[in-house]
Symmetry: C2
């Protein structure tokens, strides 16, 4: 077994040992690597026209991803990114970003 295959199997075995909600979070964390270019590795945007996703409500995130997938919400990059997502992909991505805890500190 090649090292990469071993890592994949080990990661899969680890994910499958978790409760369902935690599985979604960990699967979403893996899947979200494609999102990190614009939305950052922990959901803090790295570009001024992309939103932070960290800590957003899962219901909101899932609704937006479905809207990008259907074209109801228009964005030239996101419509392409969301086109191939399954409902499970969307649930996992939403679970991952929603699981990130955020704190807010307003200015004086």
């Amino acid at each position: 077994m090649k090292p990469n295959s071993f890592c994949t199997v080990a990661a899969l075995a680890w994910v499958l040992a978790l409760p369902a909600a935690a599985q979604d979070v960990q699967a979403g964390r893996q899947r979200a690597q494609a999102c990190a270019v614009c939305h950052g590795p922990v959901g803090l945007s790295t570009t001024p026209d992309a939103p932070h996703l960290a800590g957003q409500p899962a219901l909101y995130l899932a609704a937006q991803l479905r809207a990008y997938r259907s074209g109801a919400r228009r964005h030239e990059v996101m419509n392409v990114m969301a086109r191939g997502l399954t409902d499970e992909d969307i649930a996992q991505l939403s679970a991952w970003y929603a699981a990130i805890r955020i704190d807010a500190q307003p200015p004086q």
Copy 2:
């Protein structure tokens, strides 16, 4: 002068003494009181289908408010809320939410 009028004048005088960017932030803070029902007093959403706005990039926020105003982005509440906003209102609201510092803590 009634107490409420005094507070308004005092707040206005205080805002006008600030640099332009800080004026936008403070004016946006006042204006955002209408948004707090769904998006929380410091931009942390209080309802699962509304996004957190705290710390979002101003460019992103302004683009979304303009899209809600024009109807390019559809949401039955936000299209109504944004309909009457001027470009200055949008700049101030965006400046306020962008000025809130956020930290993110991902799950293990």
